[in-house]
Structures are given as C-alpha cells and as structure tokens.
Symmetry: C2
C-alpha cells in the first residue's frame, strides 16, 4: 500500500491571492547548479573568508543564486553560531483558529533571529500550572517571558513573573508599568467606518454585533466607529444584535431585512458575523456590494473565500508576536502600551450606496 501523503495541496496553489508557498530554493540547489559543495556555496553566500574559494567557483555560485532567485534564509544568516539564550512563551491556550499559530510564529521567528531558543508553555489559565511552568523554565535558564493571551483580557501577573523580564502579549496587567503589546482596536473601528464614508455611505450604516458589547475589543471597535460618525455629524442608523457566530448573525440579519429595513452598509464586528450577514443578504435577494456594502474585522482566511471577497480590518497576529519578543529583548523596555495598527484589507464587499447609484443612473439618462 502506498502510504505517502501530502496536504501541501492546501498551500501549493492559490488563485485567491493569499499565502502562496512555492518550493523554496535551497542553498543545496544553488550548490548543485554551480557544481560546488554545499559548504562552498554557504561560504560564498554568507561572505565568509575563512576558507579558500577560487574566484571562478565564487562567480559560479553567485550566478547560480541569481538564476535560481535564491533568497538566503534570514534565520540561516543569523544563526552563525548556536542559539545562546532562551526565552519562554507562556499562553493560556495554544490554539484558536489561526490566531495562536501566527502569534507563536511571530514570536518564535523573532526569537531565533535574535539568537534565542524558545520554550512554549500552556497554562490552561490555571495558576498552579503557570507557577510550575515558570519555575521549570527558570531552572533551564530562561531569561525572560512573553505572557500571551489568545483573547485580549486583563490578567493578574504572578509575583514570580514580575520578578523577571516579561512582556504582555494581547493582554493587559492591572498593574502599570509592564510592557504590553495589543492590537489597536479603536483605530480599527475608525478605519472601517472611514472606508464606508469614502464610498459615500453616511446615514444608512448599521452595526451587526452585540448591542451593548461587554467584550472590550468589540466595545473599542464600536467606540472608534461612533467617534468618526459623530465627527461627520451623523450616527449609526441602527444596530442588529447577534452572537459571534454565522448562524446567529444569519438569523438576526435575516429578520432585520424581512422587517423591511434597508441599510446601505453593514459593519460586522467580526468575519463570522459577516459570513452570516452574507447568507441573509443572499436569501433576501440583495447583491453585495450593489445593494448592500459589508465590512468587518479580523481578516481571517474566510474573508477572501466569500463571494464577493470581504473587506476586513486585520488583526496583525504575526506582528503582535514579533513586537512582543523585540521588546522583551530590548535593554530599555518601553513600559507604555504598544498598540499595533490593524490594517484594512479592502476587497469587493464595499461600494457606493445603492440609492446614490440609482440617482446617478437617473441623471445619466
């Protein structure tokens, strides 16, 4: 029985414009093409001079690298020597969608580039587990910690942790003065509504999410939205109350539309809510964005799979992880809260308001 497997299918080809992974050209490929050993190729590419290499061989390696479009791995370039130090990443839960993966990846790759190995530990939110993990990591020479939460929240830092270099990632301490990295959710709210204003929306903008969000990322997004609308002398036309999942949002938006409401644009508090809104709009015979614009937050994979592709303000997971480790490894760690910008991914789900277009068409006649 053949037992070979390959799921790279999921990443190999991408006509949706996201995450293309082509086979990496390795140093070995360059060496083969140049007809030299991998070591020789390595010495040429890293500019080392402690081995005698003929000008001819050097030239062949450089040409092969150009022809193959070889990009030396950042890590390989950095890791001339073994990694000398160790940091620990403590997290409450390791895994919720892509969130964990990208945040860990941002932390880890930065640690490696900065010559550090990284332990990883999952506390399950249990202070006892956390204590053991911290002690075990300290026993192994861990010099500093990134303390991460998979959902942004306030945390109480243990005494042990406070006695060591620590950076909070996606969470905030009740205590002041601890370096903290979080996404800038309020600015994300401003970004989303500005994208709609640019298209000409103004008085028909409806929020889809929790009516009185006690979830603080949501409250911040909403605050940003309301602030910008107030500056324009207007406000949200309405809000549709829903839980955070497609089916809840589908039902809520469906009955809102069935009641005869005609929003010009929906601001959905995350991509899942937007997915439910799409399903409801489709059933109501509304074409996005011709009849209804939709914008959202998170920029999960799904955003680019919907039809039309969903405009969404992205959570910069990788960047959050990267910054946390960079700050941890600084000599003078900034003790204020670092808010990482959330970039807008503008796609086909937003356009001019329907009414306006009808007016334009009428004028054209």
């Amino acid at each position: 029985m053949t037992s070979d497997h390959d799921q790279c299918a999921n990443r190999r080809t991408d006509d949706g414009g996201r995450r293309v992974t082509s086979p990496r050209v390795t140093l070995m490929d360059v060496a083969k093409r140049a007809g030299v050993s991998r070591t020789t190729a390595s010495f040429v590419m890293t500019g080392r001079r402690d081995m005698r290499i003929s000008t001819d061989a050097e030239e062949r390696v450089r040409r092969a690298a150009r022809e193959l479009n070889y990009r030396p791995s950042l890590l390989a370039r950095s890791l001339r020597t073994n990694l000398s130090q160790t940091i620990g990443l403590l997290s409450d839960v390791i895994a919720t969608e892509v969130f964990a993966g990208e945040m860990i990846r941002g932390s880890l790759s930065t640690a490696l580039l900065r010559d550090h190995l990284m332990f990883i530990g999952e506390t399950e939110g249990d202070p006892e587990v956390e204590k053991r993990l911290i002690q075990s990591m300290l026993d192994r020479g861990v010099g500093g910690f990134v303390y991460a939460s998979m959902y942004t929240r306030r945390v109480a830092l243990s005494k042990t942790l406070r006695a060591h270099p620590v950076v909070l990632l996606n969470c905030m301490a009740r205590l002041r003065g601890i370096p903290t990295v979080i996404p800038d959710e309020r600015e994300a709210g401003r970004t989303a509504v500005r994208a709609l204003l640019r298209q000409g929306h103004r008085d028909g903008i409806v929020l889809v999410g929790e009516k009185a969000p006690h979830v603080i990322a949501a409250a911040e997004r909403l605050a940003g939205v309301e602030e910008v609308l107030a500056q324009q002398g207007t406000e949200l036309a309405d809000s549709i109350d829903t839980l955070w999942w497609p089916d809840s949002s589908y039902r809520a938006v469906r009955s809102y539309l069935d009641a005869g409401n005609q929003p010009s644009a929906l601001i959905c508090l995350n991509d899942r809510i937007a997915m439910g809104a799409y399903q409801a709009a489709q059933e109501a015979g509304l074409v996005i964005p011709d009849d209804l614009s939709v914008i959202s937050f998170d920029d999960s994979d799904m955003a680019s799979w919907l039809q039309p592709q969903l405009s969404s303000v992205a959570i910069p997971h990788f960047e959050l992880g990267r910054r946390a480790v960079e700050i941890l490894l600084m000599d003078n760690r900034p003790t204020d809260i670092q808010r990482v910008p959330m970039p807008l991914r503008e796609r086909g789900s937003i356009g001019p308001p329907a009414v306006r277009k009808r007016t334009r068409r009428a004028r054209a006649r």
Copy 2:
C-alpha cells in the same frame, strides 16, 4: 481612554455547537466558597495528607467543588514537581490555519502531562537552520524530538536527528524503522463514500478535486473512495477538476452544472473546495441536500458555518500531536507507521438522492 480589550468574544458563546469556552472554575474559586486557603483546598483536592486539615474543612472543600462543578486541571494534578526533562518540537512552518495550533497543542499538553517541557523550533525547511536548532536544543539537554510537517510529505532525516530519539509527525522518512504518526487518509476516503452509500447514493457520485492528484493525501482519499465503490460494483460517475480553493472550485462546479450534468452527490477533496461547490450549487438553484449531497475532508471550522452545515471527515490534529509525544516517551517505540483514524462529522449536507425521493413521492400519491 479605555484601553481594555477582549476578543474572547470569538470563543465565549457558541450556538453553532463548537468550542465553547466557559470561564474555568479554579481551585481559588473552590477555596473561597469553602472559606479555606487555596493551599488547604489544593491539599484536599489532590488527596495529600501531609498537612492536617479538619474533617469539617475537607467536607466544605468537597461540597464547594461539587457545587461549582470544579474539574481539577490535569496538568496541575500531574505537575507535583517541576518538569524534569525536555523535548524539542521541530517543524517546517508554524502556522497554517488551525492545523499548527492544534498539533502543537496536542504535543505540548502531552509533554507537560508526562513531566516534560517543550522547546519549539521552526526550520523554514532550511537544513542549515534545522541543524543549528537541533544543536542548540541538544546543548540545552533536549532528550528527544518530534519532527513535524504542516503538510504530509516525505522528508530526509539528518544524521544528527537520527542519532537521537525522534518521532515523525505528519511526515514520513525515506528510511524505514523511524516511528511515524500520520492521518489515515485512505480510510477517510472509504468513510466518506460509505456515508453516501448509506443514504442511497450509488451511480451519481462525482469527485471534486484534482483530476490526477499528485498530492498524496488527495490520492489516498481518492483511492479509498474508488476501492469502496468498486466493491459495490460501481465507480465514480465523473470528476470535476479544480484547484484547492473556493473560487477555483466555484467556477469548475458552476460550469459542470451549467453543462447540464446532474450529479446526485459530490465528494470534495477538502472543505474549501466544498465551499466553492456550495456557492455554485446555490447559483444553479440547487438545494443541499435535497437536490445534491456534499461531503468533504478536513472538518475545518468553516464546515459548521456553511448552510447547511457540511459533513466532513476530520483531520485529528490534536490527536496526531498527542500520539507523537506519547510514542517519543515510550521505552520501546513502535517503528511502524501509526495511522490515526479520521472521524466522520456527519451534518446536514448529505441526504437521499433527489431521483429516489421523487420516486418515493410519486409512489406516495
């Protein structure tokens, strides 16, 4: 400015039936309710007898635990002492959707339960980086490695790695005799087609995926499908060629349906392909599962967000990670290939074939 945040929104409530995270009842909650110290509560709950605790206090702690439905953390119970040993998880890429997160989580939680800390390293597929990481981990007392791939493939194990205990996770070595844990993709293919056969499908089953899949997980899934159909004296009615993304699948299925074809069921090689098939079916006015059944592989989050929810054969990410570490920590590691079962998540996307139902209705008249 309020700077509090919370994205737990994404996980707090779930009326879609997946991943409900309720606030964890901690030992501290139990202690507070019982009116004792956390230490006392801990001694009661862990059954330790090296501290004198009154029968009354013990009884109050036990009652509080019952009333609060306290589940002691597995990790906390295990970690009586500091973690004594260390393993390393080496992966080509840390992050592709939820895959990485759950596989890391399965590995990590098993390592902790077995009294081991875990280093994590990302090689970027670069042998130079891999070598440095391995050496740095060995320098820090790592006793064994899990060598993981985010997509199943054949790998060449380095000499250094072969000289130490190692388990391959989601990849296979060219060399024989190395403990290996992979998902059972061929059986997954059998599982998917059997689910359709049970509903009465037989001669109208169409595959949606690569026509001649060189991706081996896909080839295995297809082989399982064809094997079971052959046993039933039939075969796939057709196959629709597509890339691995919703928009490619959407276009392919759309033109297949536009050409007048009437499949009774689609087997999609992953959930993304199924999402595109849903979009195409909807535009063609077909109701799933009344007019068309759809089944798929992966059981990503999206499967339960589609309308109707998608039946899918799950990749057991967590279990893959868990088994790899369990095998690594065995005294006598099995050297054969461990194929982890892929369970069917049956949801609303499959039903009896349309023709058959029409016949039934006709008879009923």
